[in-house]
């Protein structure tokens, strides 16, 4: 009994320590923190951009997003809106925008019978004229200075891929959106830079920029993968392509959290399943360094390790308090709590930093909510991880079925009207992406 408990405690403690490690990575030294920012750009433009904007049932927000993107301070770019052949509403909006700004906006129609985001992107890839392909989502709020900074990052670092920052901003909407925002904050602020350092990056779903020739040589996106962005990151990393991450709170792409807890669970289920697919595909085994392979294995199985420790940690505490264990063994069961509590403390400090950087007024109740919500949120994520494994084993790899099943089970947490925007707004931790897979 004692041996089992000690082994479990050490294991869970290890997982919690790794989480802690990349949570605080960016703040390791003042120089590390300074290095996570975009370098200050000069006014010199070298590259041209094709910005892909897959839009499905987004007639409500598309015009606003494109208009905002047209405010970019960069001079060489085109916006490629990708619409489905079965989506007249969005198509109409896109066509109108293209007529207004023929110099900037083009429309590409996706004729795939079953639609999803990677297929839409692959449809547009052959038509891209820019040297760099950038991906955005239809509801993203893109900063006018972004391309300018990305251009500079490409030219000064010689990178093949530049991953910009994405930030959820509606921390006040609900208890889980607060945690969701913080997850993004730490992911883009800290963890992604560690990934870049170690040579393995699961790319995000938007604000990601790839050299067009590199992307074409890699064969574009995997049209069958639920985590096509993560998959692309693994494939490019394993080909030794240089990925640069740059974060600046002023020019992040702003998004919103899923509308409901149910939508959050579904979103996480999809990513986790996508991770399992990427893990099974095995491209990560080609990563050049041991560090990279280890990090890839750990990252791709991360949600499941988290689920495991989310269940085992409270169990260990119960065992320590109920069984008559030797004092030394009982002390060991408390060890995983040190990194866990430390992570929570850093999250509270991070929330303060988040407020300072985005000019938000964080109140005491938000700190309380963040702390109190931590264990519940862990359980929600654990549930999503288990759900992903079950679906993966049953071979259900499509989004459409999930939604139908969800609806049939009477998942009241997801109002029918909210389903499409919720899916559309899906964004990511560990990798923000937006896959809008909807049956034809």
């Amino acid at each position: 009994m004692s041996v089992v408990i000690v082994v479990l405690s050490v294991l869970v403690g290890g997982i919690a320590t790794v989480t802690l490690w990349w949570t605080v990575h960016a703040w390791r030294t003042p120089e590390t923190l300074a290095g996570t920012r975009f370098a200050e750009p000069d006014r010199h433009h070298e590259l041209s951009f094709s910005l892909l904007l897959p839009a499905r049932h987004e007639e409500g927000v598309l015009a606003h997003t494109v208009t905002r993107m047209l405010e970019s301070t960069h001079t060489e770019y085109e916006i490629v809106v990708i619409v489905g052949h079965d989506d007249p509403g969005t198509s109409a909006v896109a066509e109108r925008l293209a007529r207004q700004r023929p110099d900037r906006v083009r429309v590409v129609v996706d004729h795939h019978p079953v639609k999803n985001k990677p297929r839409a992107l692959n449809t547009a890839l052959p038509t891209c004229r820019g040297q760099i392909v950038g991906v955005f989502d239809a509801e993203d709020v893109v900063h006018p200075e972004l391309l300018h900074h990305v251009d500079h990052a490409f030219s000064t670092t010689g990178a093949d891929v530049v991953q910009g920052g994405v930030q959820l901003i509606n921390y006040h909407s609900s208890w889980y959106s607060l945690r969701n925002c913080l997850e993004y904050f730490f992911y883009f602020r800290s963890r992604l830079h560690l990934h870049a350092e170690k040579g393995f990056i699961p790319l995000g779903g938007n604000t990601v920029f790839v050299r067009t020739d590199v992307l074409r040589a890699a064969g574009g996106w995997d049209g069958d993968c639920l985590a096509e962005d993560c998959d692309l990151g693994v494939r490019l990393s394993s080909r030794g392509k240089k990925v640069v991450v740059a974060y600046d709170s002023m020019i992040v792409t702003r998004e919103e959290t899923p509308d409901s807890l149910g939508a959050l669970v579904k979103q996480r289920t999809r990513w986790n399943q996508g991770f399992l697919q990427v893990l099974a595909k095995g491209d990560w085994k080609q990563l050049p360094t041991v560090w990279g392979r280890a990090l890839a294995l750990y990252t791709l199985s991360g949600p499941f390790l988290q689920a495991f420790s989310g269940v085992v940690t409270p169990l260990g505490l119960v065992l320590a308090l109920t069984f008559d264990l030797p004092a030394a063994v009982a002390l060991v069961t408390f060890l995983p709590f040190i990194p866990t509590l430390a992570t929570l403390l850093f999250e509270l400090v991070g929330l303060h930093d988040f407020g300072v950087q985005y000019g938000l007024r964080i109140k005491l109740r938000h700190y309380v909510l963040l702390a109190v919500g931590a264990p519940v949120y862990t359980l929600v994520l654990s549930y999503a991880a288990v759900r992903a494994v079950v679906r993966h084993l049953r071979g259900r790899n499509d989004w459409e079925l999930t939604r139908h099943i969800g609806a049939h089970l009477g998942d009241a947490a997801v109002p029918a009207a909210a389903v499409v925007p919720a899916v559309g707004r899906a964004a990511v931790v560990p990798a923000p992406r937006d896959s809008t897979e909807v049956a034809a």
Binding site: E31, A34, A330, L331, I338, A342, F346, H352
Partner: protein, 596 residues
């Protein structure tokens, strides 16, 4: 931003000086580095058409590689420390009951008999004697014939040398030059008071070692978050070695604050708290899991022990009343070395005004304030914790004085508000030296060798001032034989007492481990004399009281407790000395208990 642990000094330029830091051209990078020994950086307010851009360098500060000369200096210094501290360490000072108790507790840990040789009553956290247990077998194997306590002192020699090395690094990280850092080490490790205290098996020596490590990590030039987390671990280990050192934690916070960068400070301080708090918490948690956190009728408890130490223990009184314990204690410290105690205490107060010395100064001030509090209990080893901070402030001030005398024009102290109230300028002019003299001084001061000369002068003066005070102490520490009595007593007992496994003997802890290793039954055969009256687990094995005891070894500490321990008193009263070693108050008697 400075990459090394030097400090950039900015001053107002003199009339004939100009230096402008201009905005770099597009392709240039301006690097602001720490000035060399003979360089001065001057910054002035930019003109209307000038802009100055300073950005944080994006390359991490390189790990500091000390120059060869400095490493040789440190190596030589540590060799001297090891020689002076180690010479005659077996025979001076006299082994004490306290040392024996810590060693016996280490013996209990090493042999798997729990955390103490008798019931562990949370007198102190156990980490110090755990370290002792881990290392003691080495000197014990190398010096088999020596007293256990005396040979175990070689562990303390290691602790002293490591502490000295850490203090040197810490002094350098506080901006002291190599020579002044060396002075700090000399004061810390070669003062006769330090030699006496650091040779002995005291928990405070372990605590100081870890606390110095914590300060060194807090001042890490990389300002790395993990270094600050490690500082938390070291601070916790210091507290778990001797709980009283927790009072200098506020000074460590000052060091952490100064040693962190504004952009990452929130996070590095959190990292510190995340290691120091849970690690210290393991101690009360251990007590809680054993059901011994809160006081109860039939068991020992952590809080009970703490209350005893803080509230019930009789105070040692005032430093000013010759009748009080504190007065005698202070004079015993002054007897060994007045320099470090008096000059060090004064230096700590002055150093408070210096930003770079503030952290050690705060530590020293806290320790002084704690010692001065009325009604408190002050143990003899209390001064150990103050030594590194006193030494650092004293040497730091000497360094600042040398720099000032050497014409570096640096104001020796960043002036606090109460020093800024200066007299009117006309008055100051009159107070100043004539112009030709100050010009001459400036010319000399501008020479590179003048600073070196001034520094050397300070070191020489400091050593010359201390030497007469130190000479007696060092001669005593190098030549005295204080432990012959105990050693002969142990040898006599081993020779003359047969059937030791079934014999009961009352001793003080100084030779407890020796007698266990001589074959007596630990705990109930060889009995720490206090326990014969105070520990129910021992008294229950003595149903006939003193009549169940076969032998008593009386030493100064046993005689000092006369009248407080009835069983011991009766055993002594009903015994005759069979062998006496030494004479006068320090004599050791081996007495045979005789039935009336």
């Amino acid at each position: 931003m400075t990459a090394t642990d030097e400090t950039v000094v900015l001053r107002t330029p003199a009339a004939d000086e100009t230096a402008v830091l201009t905005a770099p051209a597009a392709a240039d990078t301006a690097v602001l580095r720490a000035p060399g020994p003979d360089e001065t950086v001057v910054l002035r307010t930019p003109g209307p058409d000038e802009t100055v851009v300073l950005r944080v360098a994006q390359t991490p500060a390189p790990a500091v590689r000390r120059p060869v000369g400095e490493r040789l200096l440190l190596a030589g210094l540590l060799a001297v420390v090891a020689l002076v501290q180690g010479w005659n360490i077996l025979d001076y000072p006299q082994v004490s009951d306290d040392e024996g108790t810590y060693l016996a507790q280490g013996w209990a840990v090493a042999t798997g008999n729990g955390l103490a040789h008798y019931t562990y009553w949370y007198d102190h956290p156990p980490f110090a004697w755990m370290q002792l247990a881990a290392l003691r077998w080495i000197p014990a194997a190398l010096l088999p014939g020596e007293l256990a306590v005396a040979s175990a002192r070689f562990v303390m020699l290691l602790v002293a040398v490591l502490s000295a090395a850490l203090l040197f690094v810490l002094a350098r990280r506080h901006g002291l030059r190599p020579w002044t850092a060396a002075l700090a080490v000399v004061l810390f490790a070669l003062s006769p008071l330090a030699v006496t205290m650091q040779r002995q098996i005291y928990l405070d020596n372990f605590a100081v070692l870890w606390m110095l490590a914590a300060f060194v990590l807090a001042r890490s030039p990389q300002r790395n978050l993990w270094h600050h987390a490690a500082a938390g671990i070291c601070a916790a280990l210091a507290v778990l070695s001797k709980e009283t050192i927790a009072i200098v934690l506020p000074a460590l916070l000052v060091a952490l604050w100064q040693g962190s960068h504004r952009s990452t400070r929130k996070f590095t301080l959190t990292a510190f708290f995340c290691t120091v708090v849970p690690l210290i918490a393991l101690y009360p948690l251990y007590a809680l899991l054993n059901g011994e956190l809160f006081p109860g009728d039939d068991h020992v408890s952590l809080l009970g022990a703490l209350l005893f130490q803080v509230a019930d223990r009789a105070g040692t009184g005032s430093f000013l009343d010759p009748a009080d314990g504190a007065y005698q204690l202070l004079h015993s410290w002054l007897y060994h070395d007045p320099v470090i105690v008096l000059a060090g205490a004064a230096a700590v107060l002055v150093a408070l005004a210096s930003r770079r010395l503030r952290a050690p100064a705060v530590a020293g001030v806290i320790l002084i304030a704690m010692a001065l509090r009325p009604g408190g209990y002050l143990p003899a080893m209390y001064v150990i914790q103050a030594l590194p901070f006193f030494a650092l402030c004293l040497a730091g001030l000497a360094g600042l004085a040398a720099a000032w005398a050497g014409g570096r024009r640096r104001p020796p102290l960043e002036r606090p508000w109460w020093l800024r109230l200066s007299p009117p300028s006309r008055l100051r002019l009159r107070l100043g030296a004539p112009a030709w003299l100050s010009a001459a001084v400036d010319r000399v001061a501008a020479r590179p060798w003048s600073r070196r000369l001034a520094e050397t002068a300070v070191v020489v003066l400091a050593v010359a001032a201390a030497a007469p005070w130190w000479a007696d102490g060092h001669v005593r520490a190098a030549t005295a034989s204080a432990n012959d009595g105990y050693a002969d007593a142990v040898a006599w007992i081993e020779r003359e007492i047969p059937d030791r496994a079934n014999t009961r003997i009352l001793v003080d802890d100084a030779i407890w481990v020796d007698l266990v290793e001589a074959g007596f039954t630990p705990g109930t055969g060889v009995i720490w004399f206090y326990k014969a009256d105070l520990d129910p687990a021992v008294t229950s094995t003595l149903p006939n009281g003193w009549r169940d005891v076969d032998w008593v070894v009386t030493s100064p500490i046993v005689r000092q407790e006369e009248g407080t321990l009835p069983t011991v008193d009766a055993a002594v009263a009903n015994s005759v000395p069979r062998a006496v070693f030494g004479a006068g108050d320090d004599r050791i008697e081996v007495r045979r208990v005789t039935a009336p």
